[in-house]
Amino acid sequence: MKTKNMILSLLLALVILVSACSSPAPATTAPATTAPQAAEPTVAVAAAPTDAPTAGVATDQPALTLTIWTDDNFTKALEGMVDPAQKEYGVKLVVQQLKFEEVMSQFQLAAPAGQGPDILVTNNGNVGELVKNGLVIPLSLGDVATKYDPVAVSAWQDKGEQYGLPINTENVGFFINKEIVPACPATWTEVRDISRKISANNGDNVDANKYGFVLNETDAYHWYPLMTAFGGYVFAVTDKGYNPSDLGLDSEGTLAAAKYWDAYIKEKLQPAGVDDETMLHFFETGKAAMIITGPWWTKRVVASGLKFEICPIPGEVKKNGQPFLGSFGYVVSAFSKNQSLAEIFVKDFLSREENMRAIFNNTPQPPANLAVVASLTDPYLAAFAVAGKDALPLPSIPEMGAVWEGWTNALTLVSQQRDDPVNAFTTAAEQIRKKIAETNK
C-alpha cells in the first residue's frame, strides 16, 4: 500500500508538470493573422499549417521553395530539373506525385486551405473549372508564347486570358492497315465505299468477318473528328474562345454526321457491341482496316508488326475532320505564397527547351515547344501533328461538363439502333441546354 501511494504521488507530480507545460504552449502559437473564416464551410483538411515554405538551408540566404504537383507521367522529368533549378535559380523545387485521378480534386480542396502547391501540372480541359473557382492566376507569357504551338497555347486560355503554359499536345489520328487499304481515304464517303467492299462477303459469324472502319460505339471523343468533318461542332468558336450559348449538337453538320453513322450501322458495316478493346483488337489482327485512335496506342500496333499508316482524318464537308486537342501544362495556384515568383519560374525556367525536351524524353507525347518539335525524328509523332494541324482544343469551359453525358447517350442510341439520329441528337441538345441553364442560374 505504501508503494502504491508513493507511485500515485509521483503520478500526481508528473501530471501537474504535464499540465503546467501543456497550457502555455498554445499561447506561444501566434493566432491566425488571416481573415476570420466565420461563415465559410471549413474544409476538413485538419492538419495544422506547416511552416512557411522557405526551408532553412545552411547557406547565407534562405532558399526559396516551390512545390509542384504532378501525376506519375512527369515526375521523373521534373525531378531531373531539381538540380539545375537549385544551381541556376537558387530555387528548391519540391516535386510531389499524386494519383492521376486525384490531382484535380485534391488541388481544389487543398489550395484554398493553404496546403496546395505553387505550380500544378494538369490537363487543359480543367482550366475552365480552375478559373471559375478562382484557383489559378493568369500568366503573362509574353515572348515565351511565340516559342510554342499557337493552338496549344490557345488551349490554355479562358475568356481570352492565358492561364497555363502547354507542355505537350495530344490528338487522335486515322490509322489504316496498309495491306488492305493502300492509301489514305480523303472523305468519309470513300471510307464507307471501302468498308462496303471489304465486308461484301460477310456472314453472320462475326469471327470470320472482315470490316473496314470500326469505332467504339459509345465514345463521343473519338467520334468527334467524324462529326467535324461533316461540319458539326460542339460549341461555336469565337475569338474569345468557345461560346457556351451556341451548342451545335443539333446543328445541320452534326445531324448529317449522325445520319451518316446511322446508315453505316444499318448496313452492318460494323458489328454490334464494338467497344474500345474490341476495336483495337480487330485492327491488330487485321479484321478491321481503319480505326481512329491516339498516340498512346502506337507502340502496341508497332509491336503487332502490322504495316500501318497514320493519316489525317478524312473530311466530307470540310477538307479534314478536326480532332480534339488535349494538352498537359503548368498552371500557377492563386493560393500560392509565392505567386509571382512561381509565375517567373514557369516563364523563365520550366519553359526552356531543354526542360521541355527532358519531359518529352520521359513521356513521348507530341511536345508543344516548337524547338523540340522541330528536332523530332519519330515519324508517327509527325503524322499525328499533321492530323492535328486543325485540331480544336478540348473545350475547357465549365459548360463542357454538361455536354458529355447527353452526347454520349445520343451516340450510343444511334450506334445501338434504338433511336433515329435526328431525334437522338435533338433530344440530347435539349437536355444539355436545360442542364446548362439550370446550373448557371
Binding site: 498554445p26 484557383l135 509574353g142 454538361a402
Partner: protein, 535 residues
C-alpha cells in the same frame, strides 16, 4: 461532482471499495485528459478551425460528464466508442446536411472574404504604365538594392527597400550595355555587388511584399530582369459591396443570393463564393417536373433491384450452405474456392464481367449470340441488362450469405429436426417450418442491411454499364439500369462542374426514402421473430 460520490453500488464485479489511491488516480486521469483536450482545442482555435475546436470541447465535456456522474459511470468504457461515432459518423453527416443548405460547388468553393482577397491580388499593367529592366545588388551587410533602367540609354534609378522612385537621382551611374558589377549608393561603403543569377529568385522572395515607388504606382517584379508598375485590377468597396474592375472599367455588385459578383449587364466575375441558399437545392430537386418521368422508373427499378439482389444471393448462399453442410471429401478446398467472388475486389471482377458479356469477344456474350443465332448485345437491351446485372450481383454476394447462413444453420438445434422427422415431416416441410423461420430471425437484420447496401450499390451499376443503355427521349440523361444513386450522381456531378450542395440535398432525400423503407422492414423482422418464437 466530488469523487467521493462515486460509490461502488452500481459497479458490478469491479474492485470493492474506492480507496484514496483510486480517487487520486481518477482525478489525475481526468486532469491529464483535460490537459490534452485543452491543448488540442487551443491549437485548433489558433489555426482557425473553430467548429472542430468546439466539437473537441463538446466531446471532452461529454466524456468528463460520463466519468463523473454515478448514473452514467457504467458507460465509461463505451465513451471512446461514442466519441469516435460522433466524430466519424455523426459529424460528417451533420456537415453534409449543412452543405445541402448552401451552394458549395464549382464556382462557389471559397468564402466571400477570401474571394475578395483573391481578386484584389490580381494585378495588371495599365496602358500608360511603366516597365523597367532591373538588376539586383546586395552588399556584404545583406541589404538589397535595385537598379532600374527605365529605357535603354536613360538615367538609371537606384532603389533600396522602402525608398520611392526619386525625382532627382542619387548615386549617379553611367550605364553602358550591361549593369555594373558594383555600385555605391550615396558614397556609403560597403559597395553593392551585382547578384549572380542563381540568387536572384531568392532575393526576390525577400523583396516580395516590398514595393518600390509611390503608393499609386508601386513597382513590382514581373520577370527575372523585368519590373513594371502594376496596379490592382479590382478594388472592393465595402460600403456599397461592389468591386470595380479598373482595367475594363466595369462595376460588379455582390449578389449574396447566388454568391457571385454581377455587373449591370449580367457579366459574372469569377470566382464566386459560397452562400447559404436555404432549401433551394431541395426545391430544385423536387419541383423539377421534367425529370419526374425517368425518376419514377429509376426508383422502381432501384427497389426491385435491391429486393432481387438480396433474395437471389441469399437463396443461392443458403442452398450452398445446406449442400456443403454435410461432410464430403475436399469440403475445405471447395469452400475456399466458393469464397473467391467475395475475396476479389469487386471493381476488378465487375469489369471482367463486362468483358465477358461483350457480344463479340466475350465468352458469355459470344456464346449466347451463337445460341440465339444473332448478336445479342446485352448492353443495348433494356431488359437483358437488368437480368445480367442481377446475375452479376448474385455472383458477387452469394459467398457472403453462404458464410453467414453456414454459421446460422449450425445454431439451429438438431433435436428439432429429429422431433420433426418423428412427426412425419419431410425435408421440404422441415426446411419451411423449422430452418427458415429460425434462420430468418438470426439473419433478418443482415438481409435488411443487404437491401440497404444494394439500394445504393453504385459500384456494380456504374462500372458495369454506366447505368446505360440510355433511355430514349427523356429530359435528363437516364439509363435503363440506372439506380437512384447513379442517376442522381450524374445529375449533380455531370453538370458544369461539381455541385456539392445539390448532391448533398439529394443524398438527404434518399436517406429519408431509405428510412421509410427500413422502418417497413423492421416490421417484417418483428413478424419473423414472432414466427420464430412459435417454432
Amino acid at each position: 461532482m466530488s469523487p467521493k460520490d462515486v460509490k461502488p453500488q452500481s459497479s458490478q464485479g469491479s474492485s470493492g471499495s474506492i480507496t484514496l489511491g483510486n480517487v487520486i488516480l481518477r482525478i489525475f486521469s481526468l486532469m491529464l485528459f483535460w490537459a490534452g483536450g485543452s491543448w488540442l482545442m487551443l491549437r485548433l482555435w489558433a489555426d482557425g478551425y473553430w467548429p472542430f475546436a468546439a466539437a473537441i470541447l463538446l466531446i471532452t465535456c461529454l466524456i468528463t460528464f460520463i466519468w463523473v456522474r454515478p448514473e452514467t459511470y457504467p458507460l465509461r468504457w463505451m465513451s471512446p466508442g461514442l466519441v469516435f461515432m460522433l466524430l466519424i459518423s455523426v459529424y460528417p453527416i451533420l456537415y453534409t446536411v449543412y452543405i445541402s443548405f448552401t451552394n458549395f460547388g464549382t464556382g462557389h468553393l471559397i468564402g466571400k472574404t477570401r474571394v475578395i482577397e483573391v481578386l484584389e491580388n490580381r494585378k495588371f499593367l495599365p496602358k500608360n504604365g511603366s516597365e523597367y529592366d532591373f538588376a539586383l545588388y546586395r552588399n556584404t551587410s545583406g541589404e538589397l538594392a535595385v537598379l532600374l533602367l527605365p529605357s535603354p540609354g536613360s538615367e538609371p534609378i537606384i532603389l533600396v527597400p522602402g525608398s520611392t522612385i526619386p525625382q532627382s537621382q542619387t548615386g549617379k551611374i553611367v550605364i553602358e550595355a550591361a549593369p555594373p558589377e558594383q555600385i555605391v549608393i550615396d558614397g556609403a561603403q560597403p559597395p553593392y555587388q551585382l547578384l549572380p543569377k542563381n540568387q536572384i529568385l531568392t532575393a526576390l522572395s525577400e523583396l516580395q511584399g516590398v514595393t518600390f515607388g509611390s503608393d499609386e504606382h508601386a513597382v513590382q517584379i514581373t520577370g527575372m530582369t523585368k519590373a513594371a508598375a502594376l496596379e490592382s485590377r479590382y478594388v472592393y468597396d465595402s460600403q456599397s459591396d461592389t468591386i470595380l474592375d479598373i482595367k475594363d472599367n466595369v462595376l460588379y455588385k455582390a449578389n449574396d443570393e447566388n454568391g457571385i459578383f454581377v455587373s449591370a449587364d449580367g457579366r459574372e466575375l469569377d470566382p464566386g463564393y459560397t452562400v447559404a441558399t436555404g432549401i433551394a437545392n431541395y426545391s430544385r430537386f423536387i419541383d423539377n417536373p421534367s425529370f419526374r418521368g425517368p425518376l419514377v422508373m429509376v426508383f422502381l427499378w432501384t427497389v426491385f433491384y435491391a429486393l432481387l439482389s438480396t433474395f437471389f444471393p441469399f437463396a443461392l448462399g443458403l442452398l450452398t450452405a445446406i449442400v456443403f453442410g454435410r461432410n464430403m471429401p475436399g469440403k475445405g478446398l471447395i469452400k475456399s474456392l466458393l469464397i473467391i467472388p467475395f475475396a476479389i475486389p469487386n471493381v476488378i471482377s465487375i469489369l471482367i464481367w463486362r468483358g465477358l458479356w461483350n457480344p463479340i469477344s466475350g465468352l458469355y456474350g459470344a456464346s449466347i449470340s451463337a445460341i440465339a443465332g444473332q448478336p445479342v448485345n446485352i448492353f443495348a437491351d433494356p431488359i437483358l441488362i437488368k437480368a445480367v446485372l442481377i446475375f452479376v450481383e448474385t455472383w458477387l454476394s452469394y459467398p457472403y450469405f453462404f458464410l453467414i447462413t453456414s454459421g446460422a444453420l449450425q445454431a439451429i438445434p438438431t433435436d428439432m429436426y429429429e422431433a420433426a422427422e418423428i412427426d412425419g415431416a419431410n425435408a421440404w416441410h422441415q426446411f419451411q417450418y423449422i430452418t427458415l423461420p429460425l434462420l430468418l430471425v438470426a439473419v433478418g437484420p443482415l438481409l435488411v442491411g443487404s437491401f440497404m447496401y444494394n439500394f445504393n450499390n453504385f459500384n456494380v451499376v456504374y462500372l458495369f454499364n454506366k447505368g446505360g443503355p440510355p433511355m430514349v427521349g427523356t429530359s435528363t440523361p437516364a439509363g435503363y439500369s440506372d439506380i437512384l444513386i447513379s442517376y442522381v450522381y450524374r445529375l449533380a456531378f455531370s453538370g458544369t462542374g461539381q455541385d456539392y450542395g445539390y448532391a448533398t440535398a439529394i443524398t438527404v432525400i434518399i436517406f429519408f426514402v431509405l428510412v421509410v423503407i427500413t422502418l417497413f422492414q423492421y416490421q417484417l423482422m418483428n413478424m419473423w421473430e414472432k414466427v420464430g418464437e412459435n417454432v
